[in-house]
């Protein structure tokens, strides 16, 4: 084994009922290296990591570590003892414990805990990493971003040699991402090998040294970052040569109907109990617009208020010029408004229910309690959208929770499209999903708009919004601070509006 090589995985196989999740995958990691693991959802990234961390037992292949030789990893504890630490995409800490308890839980050498020392240690680590949390604070009271950082701090503190970051940045804003990258570079200089899983291409090119690409459970290849331009990377991930990202600009997404100027939805002085200032908003038929702003600026809260997801305190809303009242989601749905929520896991999917039930749910609720669809009807609906959105699932009966993130998102999208809404709100539909699906969703939005559907699109990735939206509402500190359209729709203009450079 190479001197600098700290991890070597050879010919890893993993089979799930009906699926070969990994087939003979090789992966290696050097000391002081940040190595991106890339691939679409379902490519096998998560499975490979779970094999490495002992969550899954592999069906074939070998894992070797520097200083340990060939190892058998049967549990996350084994992995931890061998110096492999993981921070997962979904936060796996205990929200009802304090920050310090979360950092030290399960690591106590003895049965007695020196609370004072533990809290002091935790505070020291937190401040060294510049994480805005106190040791004695309850974890649930921190923002998701801070919780994520606490998870990283926990992993970092465990003297790891191999640190796995599985989508750590999907809930962080730009500054927090920068802070994390600083931390990663710091660890790199100390000789830690980092496996970085992300969907953000920019981030890969900003911080990584090497890229390993997987597709359909197989290794595509390992590349030096400088040898692999972006377009190439996307092509390798998708398995075809194409420049999808530039493909979708412009030509689609314009609605040419006679009623193109009709206001579909109008809101005046709308305010919910989620702590946003009253705001005005409107959208025309076939228009795609969006709310932008930093994480926590109130963009989600605005669309939640429109949909009645939070309690509406005041304001008036009109649908096609007619005054309506929305006090609960069902009211909005009855008026042809659909809402794909930001938090897919907690607000979107009904995990244990089948893909079919998840798809028909909204339309079924709208149809009425006493009018259930026949089995044949439900199957037809499900089949139609599984096909239309290319949802990868074993069958319509598969529980939705066993699908990959991107496919789960497509199921929820299918649910709302089945309702044939006039106005579709998509809150972070592309978060945490693979590039292929991202592009699919953006294309779909423009296609729907060209057919006359009004869409509000929210994304943390500004270029995504620039590609799809014809008008952006900019938010700062829970207030609407500007509206951009036409030639103003540039990255710089958005930044300056967010920063308050306008006026």
């Amino acid at each position: 084994m190479d001197d600098k090589r700290i991890l070597e995985m050879r010919g890893i196989d993993k089979v799930f009922p009906g699926v070969r999740a990994l087939q003979g995958v090789d992966f290696s990691l050097n000391e002081g290296e940040i190595h991106a693991l890339m691939g679409e959802n379902g490519a096998g990234k998560s499975t490979l990591i779970k094999v490495l961390t002992g969550v899954y037992v592999r069906d074939g292949g070998t894992i070797s570590l520097k200083d340990h030789g060939e190892v058998q990893i049967h549990s996350p504890q084994d992995a931890q003892k061998l110096g492999i630490s993981t921070v997962y995409q979904e936060i796996t800490l205990c929200p009802n414990l304090t920050v310090a308890e979360n950092m030290f839980i399960g690591r106590g050498a003895g049965t007695l805990t020196n609370w004072k020392k533990m809290n002091e240690d935790a505070d020291r680590i937190l401040s060294s990493l510049d994480i805005p949390a106190k040791a004695t604070q309850q974890l649930a009271s921190c923002s998701i971003a801070v919780q994520q950082m606490v998870a990283i701090a926990r992993a970092v503190d465990m003297e790891c040699k191999v640190l796995i970051l599985d989508e750590p940045t999907s809930s962080l804003d730009e500054q927090e991402v920068e802070k994390l990258f600083g931390l990663m570079r710091d660890l790199k200089s100390r000789g830690v090998g980092i496996i970085f899983v992300t969907h953000f291409l920019d981030q890969v090119y900003e911080v990584c040294d090497k890229i390993t690409v997987l597709r359909d459970g197989q290794l595509v290849g390992e590349y030096e970052i400088k040898d692999l331009p972006r377009v190439q990377l996307v092509a390798k991930m998708l398995g075809k040569e194409m420049d999808d990202l530039s493909d979708i600009k412009g030509e689609q997404g314009t609605y040419h109907g006679a009623d193109a100027n009709e206001q579909i939805f109008e809101a005046e002085g709308l305010q919910s109990d989620a702590g946003i200032a009253p705001f005005d908003f409107h959208i025309k038929k076939g228009e795609v617009n969006g709310f932008t702003g930093l994480l926590g600026s109130g963009r989600s809260e605005c669309v939640r208020a429109i949909f009645g997801a939070d309690r509406v305190l005041k304001g008036s809303v009109k649908m096609k010029g007619k005054s309506i009242k929305i006090t609960k989601p069902l009211d909005a749905m009855k008026n042809g408004i659909a809402y794909l929520p930001e938090d897919r896991k907690d607000d979107g999917i009904i995990g244990d229910l089948s893909v079919r039930d998840n798809i028909i749910l909204a339309l079924q609720v709208l149809t009425g309690f006493f009018k259930p669809f026949s089995k044949a009807q439900a199957n037809a609906f499900a089949a139609e959208y599984i096909d239309k959105l290319n949802i990868k699932t074993a069958s319509a009966d598969t529980p939705v929770k066993s699908l990959s993130g991107g496919n789960q998102q497509k199921v929820i999208l299918a649910r709302w499209l089945l309702m044939h809404p006039e106005y579709l709100i998509l809150d972070e539909p592309t978060r945490g999903i693979d590039v292929g699906t991202k592009v699919d969703i953006q294309k779909l939005v423009l296609e729907l708009a060209s057919e006359g559907m009004s869409v509000t699109f929210i994304s943390s990735e500004t270029d995504e919004m620039l590609r799809t939206c014809s008008r952006l509402v900019v938010m700062r500190d829970r207030k609407v601070v500007g509206e951009l359209s036409g030639d103003d729709l540039t990255q710089n203009k958005i930044m300056s509006t967010i920063a308050g450079g306008e006026q």
Partner: protein, 362 residues
């Protein structure tokens, strides 16, 4: 040949994963044990009762008869479990309340009336209203005040029997009309116990409700992910509340049977510990007690299995105060077998034996 065999094994493996697997295995085990011990267990005979009417009797009839209340309660308990992720432990106490209300109406506050003071149907409707009120109380605490179901229902569990006694001034009235005894016994000329018909009616009603409404979908959605259900236009609070009200109705029907069996009531012991059996029925059916997905038929089957077990234990002359201990053993086995670790192990073993069987066949 080899193909055929592996196909069978594949089916078997599929069945191991099926929710009805555990209840089915339980029935097989109980049936075999009884068959070996005394084949007469399965004998059903047509005889005359003391009123001179033909009636069927035998252990199997006893199971169907005494399992009725439990099967009815299991219907409501399954819905409550699915929607709220918790259980109602006040079922026995609310049976006492509903039963007491029924007697109060029938006897008009008189301990030993010569005739009933109101038609039986009126008394039953009153019991249904009282049962649903109790359900509303529990449902309100759980759905609107977000109290954990076990804690919320602990209130009626503790106070229910005293309330039941208070309704009849602590008296133990006896219903004079022999017709009232039909519900827990036999209708003259009908050899099958009335309870079997009542249970069948309840099962048919719930089957129709599940088929012609979205109760099942809504309940499961709310139990799995309340916040998501809300964003899909479902009112999770109301669905939870509704599940408790439905259970209240089941309680009233069970109370009718219980009170009718002896035409009287004993507040402190009527339907004692039945809540545990009802919860056990849901669990035996392979339903997660943490809520979400449910299989109504498995729960109902579970209820009859519990009665099967009870009847078997009586048959073996097991001390009746030790019954609870045997049920506890069943719970342990059940919990262990439904644990993912054990299920994985079983399917791994099945896999290991499958190739061996193939080879043999070849």
């Amino acid at each position: 040949m080899s193909k055929k065999k592996s196909g069978g094994l594949g089916k078997l493996k599929g069945f191991v994963g099926n929710q009805l697997f555990i209840p089915f295995i339980a029935i097989v085990i109980l049936a075999v044990v009884n068959l070996v011990h005394d084949p007469a267990f399965f004998k059903v005979v047509l005889g005359l009762n003391n009123a001179g009417y033909p009636v069927l009797s035998g252990s199997l009839i006893t199971i169907l008869d005494y399992g009725s209340e439990l099967a009815i309660l299991a219907i409501g308990m399954t819905l409550v479990t699915a929607a709220s992720g918790g259980q109602d432990i006040s079922v026995g106490a609310t049976i006492a309340i509903a039963g007491s209300a029924m007697l109060r109406v029938l006897c008009g506050g008189n301990t030993r009336p010569d005739t009933i003071q109101a038609p039986i149907i009126v008394a039953f409707i009153v019991a249904c209203i009282v049962g649903m009120l109790c359900g509303m109380f529990n449902g309100m605490l759980v759905a609107y005040f977000k109290i954990q179901p076990m804690i919320a229902t602990l209130i009626l569990f503790t106070a229910g029997r005293s309330i039941a006694a208070w309704i009849n001034n602590n008296e133990l009235p006896i219903v004079p009309d022999p017709k009232f005894a039909y519900f827990g016994g036999f209708i003259p000329g009908m050899p099958v116990p009335t309870t079997v018909f009542i249970a069948a009616a309840c099962i048919i009603v719930i089957a129709l409700v599940l088929k012609f409404t979205n109760l099942g979908l809504y309940t499961q959605a709310v139990g799995i992910n309340g916040s998501s259900s809300r964003l899909n236009g479902i009112n999770p609070t109301f669905i939870k509340f509704l599940s408790f009200v439905i259970l209240g109705l089941c309680v009233a029907v069970a109370a009718l049977i219980k009170v009718s069996r002896l035409s009287t009531i004993n507040y402190s012991v009527i339907a004692k510990d039945i809540e545990m059996d009802a919860i056990l029925a849901v669990a035996l059916g392979g339903n997660a007690l943490s809520g979400g997905k449910f299989n109504m038929w498995a729960s109902i089957l579970g209820a009859y299995i519990i009665q099967f077990l009870t009847t078997t234990l009586y048959k073996f002359n097991v001390k009746s105060d030790a019954l609870a201990a045997y049920k506890a053993v069943v719970v342990i086995i059940l919990v262990v077998f439904s644990a993912p670790v054990v299920r994985d192990y079983i399917s791994r073993m099945a896999k290991r034996f499958a190739p061996a069987a193939k080879k043999e066949a070849a």
